[in-house]
Symmetry: C2
Subunit: 548 residues, 2 copies
């Protein structure tokens, strides 16, 4: 029996309908310099989004065409977030941190018709044209003027908008149509494209606005540190529009001290960022020598990997900030889990137990189903002990990579193999152990590099630490630790003694290399590939020479 | 361009997946006597829901078949909420408060195959069989045993479940398939059927769990006073399961003092009920002569019509309880708006302004679009002044009544005419003036019966008041007030003086009838039809004779 309900589609433009009417006076604030901000209301935002939609039509963009951006987090980039999918085209946010050849690859792969970019990316865009991006027929510079350039058919963003009216009726179409595309790096080979739906992005925004999840609310002033060129900015802009929250964007080339200043200047109440940002902001506070008032900051959502207990405690003690986390990936629009402590667990937990619970990656968000499979493909129990591969499914999980043979490896029988390994406890809390490729198999036993990293980073004299597997004749694999000390007095023996409290002797790394910085991926995660390939090329010396 | 996302359906069974795994230890508590409760966990709930699904198959129910219930709010009824739609059948909650002939009509209209009922409804069910409900092939009594009856093919609910295993794989099907049916009373003619989708009910639950809406959360102990036979219990059970909240059900024939006792016994934190319940609970507290500790009750959501300022203040002052409201109807699954005060409005508002804002019906919830149309069908501005007909659309708004010619009057061009009249302020807050049929047109001027009722109920000596339009030779219509005084000393002149502060002379009723009780509809709203028809039949005397 069919229901008799309206077949209204979940489109991103329906979020904008709310924001413009109900939250017209709320603001979007972009950092444009030290203590200098551009701000306007959601009403003005809506008008400009409509002008942009008209401009897309004039540029010859049609329903379903791809439109690329190379941009930082700012209001013009945010206008493309709703203008492009609202128009019915597909927003491809090119990752600023990929190599130019990978960027060229992604642009050609999805055949972007127009490319919007920030003025500071001009040299890069010229390089991309030299490398060959033949589908791009027009370029738009996010700004008032077109700089000196050898690019053809270039427009200034503000000129484009000035020529258009703010009347535009957002078209209605299937909620399963593509709204956006992001690429995710692969262990080997080219980046893999994920094609998001309007439906999935609207549903994710609703989840992030729910109690016991991120719980974004209207009265929040939210700082979006996570780059808008990565996983649609974790879907935070969409959630802010849905809820009418004040949205703060850090602008071009932000540094850790800029985030500190923004929290202080604008009384930011919540922010989301890669896990390293929590540490870098702490260090920036220290090295600034100033006494910042960051007491407005209630929530700091750190993603990408688990924040350490040390960083959770530092923020809580200094400013009363609650550091929270989840687990997500490009293929899941992006959240899979979010950390929230169930009342029945909270009731009887001491401080340490609570902190341990907060170290877990949380429970699956609504609409997400998860399972762990063992080596033989058998489903493992949720006992907090049995470790296997995580598989997920939901209305916002990728069913395929765009035109990519690697789909077959990862999307099987309606489930997506996340590539992460770990356990699930009896209350459904996910405990990530590792990327499957980062688990260390030493003498037939598994060693979790994440457990070692967390333990090392809990040492007061360690700023960053990563652990990678290196080949070993006797044990097949052994762990190697690269550590950034805060202090020259730290020794290998200190670390060995520190780890011996919680780890069996055989699981403690044989070598600890002291380095200046741990290499990071484009999205701020520790880049173990770089460490491994340095080691492969030249052993310990090569790692120390390059990173030390 | 199509997205590449999994086509996972929004099914009610997907909510249960969460509850069983993540909130297995949380409880459902049902009142079974004075201070006596039945309680079990969501884990046990899930097992019984699966047994019920198996039992439905054994009874010969097939996908899409209708299954009726005549039940109070209790755990067995709640099991049908997920067991029936989870199985793929359609739950028709027959309204206990309709007349038997109307109940018979609704059962025959949708052709219920099985009818579940509470033991205290046995005589009614026998009467229904006498009246004729030929499609019903089996009866199930919510209990351990089958009472003496002349019904054929009757089962005890517990016997049915005992015979089944708790293994059942919930089928996957289109989210637009019917999940439930409720009937709504019509001004004239038979009740009208609304056929709900899985999709719409899942989306509503997500909305009710969002911050700045109801915001139901895991740590709440929620008392579901609104009857489960009315609008799917306002979708509250589904939201509780989604969020893992403790759910408290008041059982058979609850009285206002029972709600008071449950709040006190179980430390209830939130509840939803018809607006009269707020007053009746207050009166029950008073007349009990006991000093109840109701301080756990943070949220009292009163629906059906706006709670008075007097009741909002009483609960805030006595127990710190925040009385909130919204606007909904059977045709909208059911919420349209929910009251939440935008931070920018809260900042500058004094207590009185805040209370005035809370008297409005709130902003549209996510995914709902709303408009007001004037007499000529022109769209009216959101200025808080222009009064017209409210129209809404959303993925959970009815597109038609079930097999009913009245669809054509109410569902036009993809919008639903709500039948309510009012204005929208510049921030999107809905201000209900009246049902269109209840507005009083006197001498060419509109008088709002709701405004008069609210003003009358703000008088300290008034318990209940309703205002209806009666025909008048000179003015065409005039308002008539029926008032339940708390005290014999109240006079017509007192009321006239009281109203004269805020109302023009011509809009004040000519007659105030003092009555013992205002007649109410099956869902607890003031039943103006009854007052009007008494007046039509025999004038003021008839109203006083019947109600006085």
């Amino acid at each position: 029996m069919e229901s008799l309900m309206m077949d209204r589609q979940l489109l991103l433009s329906s979020l904008l309908w709310r924001t413009e009417r109900l939250f017209h006076d709320k603001k979007i604030i972009t950092r444009i310099g030290d203590g200098q901000y551009h701000e306007y209301t959601y009403r003005e935002y809506g008008r400009r989004v409509r002008k942009l939609a008209n401009a897309l039509g004039r540029l010859g963009v049609e329903h379903g065409d791809r439109v690329g951006t190379l941009g930082w987090n700012h209001y013009r980039h945010l206008e493309t977030y709703f203008g492009v999918p609202g128009f019915g085209a597909v927003l491809h946010t090119v990752n600023l941190r990929l190599f130019p050849d990978q960027q060229r690859f992604t642009i050609n792969k999805v055949a972007d018709e127009v490319l919007f970019f920030d003025p500071d990316q001009l040299a890069l865009v010229e390089e991309l044209v030299d490398l060959g991006i033949p589908t791009v027929k027009a370029f738009v510079v996010f700004g008032d003027t077109v700089p000196e350039t050898r690019l053809q058919n270039v427009h200034a963003y503000e000129d484009l908008l000035a020529a258009e009216t703010d009347e535009f009726e957002f078209p209605e179409f299937d909620e399963r149509d593509a709204a956006a595309i992001c690429f995710t790096s692969a262990t080997t080979g080219d980046p893999k494209g994920v094609v998001y739906s309007h439906r999935g992005m609207v549903l994710q925004a609703m989840c992030l606005a729910m109690h016991d999840k991120l719980g974004m609310s209207e009265d929040q002033v939210w700082l979006e540190v996570a780059p808008m060129f990565h996983c649609n900015g974790w879907n935070i802009p969409h959630t802010a529009l849905l809820q009418g929250s004040t949205l703060v964007l850090p602008g071009v080339h932000p540094q850790p001290i800029d985030y500190v200043r923004m929290v202080s200047d604008l009384k930011v109440t919540g922010m989301n960022a890669a896990v390293t940002i929590g540490t870098l902001m702490r260090d920036a506070v220290h090295s600034s020598g100033r006494d910042w008032d960051l007491g407005s900051l209630q929530t700091m959502w750190l993603g990408g990997q688990a924040p350490s207990k040390a960083i959770m405690n530092w923020w809580a003690e200094q400013y009363g900030t609650y550091v929270t986390q989840g687990w997500g990936m490009t293929e899941n629009t992006p959240q899979i889990c979010f950390s929230a402590i169930k009342s029945t667990l909270r009731e009887n937990a001491g401080d340490d137990e609570l902190l341990a619970l907060r170290q877990k990656q949380g429970q699956p968000i609504p609409l997400v189903q998860i399972k762990i499979l063992g080596a033989e493909g058998e489903e493992l129990p949720w006992d907090g002990e049995s470790v296997g591969d995580f598989w997920v499914r939901s209305p916002f999980t990728a069913s395929a990579y765009y035109d990519d043979e690697r789909t077959a490896e990862n999307m099987v029988d309606g489930w997506f193999r996340t590539g992460d390994v770990g356990a699930i406890d009896p209350d459904g809390y996910v405990i990530l152990k590792d990327r499957s490729k980062d688990l260390i198999k030493s003498g037939g036993e598994w060693i979790s590099s994440i457990d070692l990293e967390n333990a090392l980073m809990a040492h007061p004299k360690v700023r960053e630490a990563t652990v990678v597997n290196i080949p070993d004749e006797k044990w097949l694999e052994r762990p190697l630790a690269c550590v950034v000390p805060t202090d020259d007095s730290l020794t290998e023996d200190d670390l060995r003694t520190h780890l011996a409290v919680d780890f069996a002797k055989w699981s403690i790394p044989d070598r600890f290399l002291f380095v200046k910085e741990v290499p990071k991926t484009g999205v701020g995660k520790y880049d173990k590939k770089v460490v491994r390939s340095l080691y492969t090329d030249g052993g310990f010396d090569a790692v120390e020479a390059k990173l030390g």
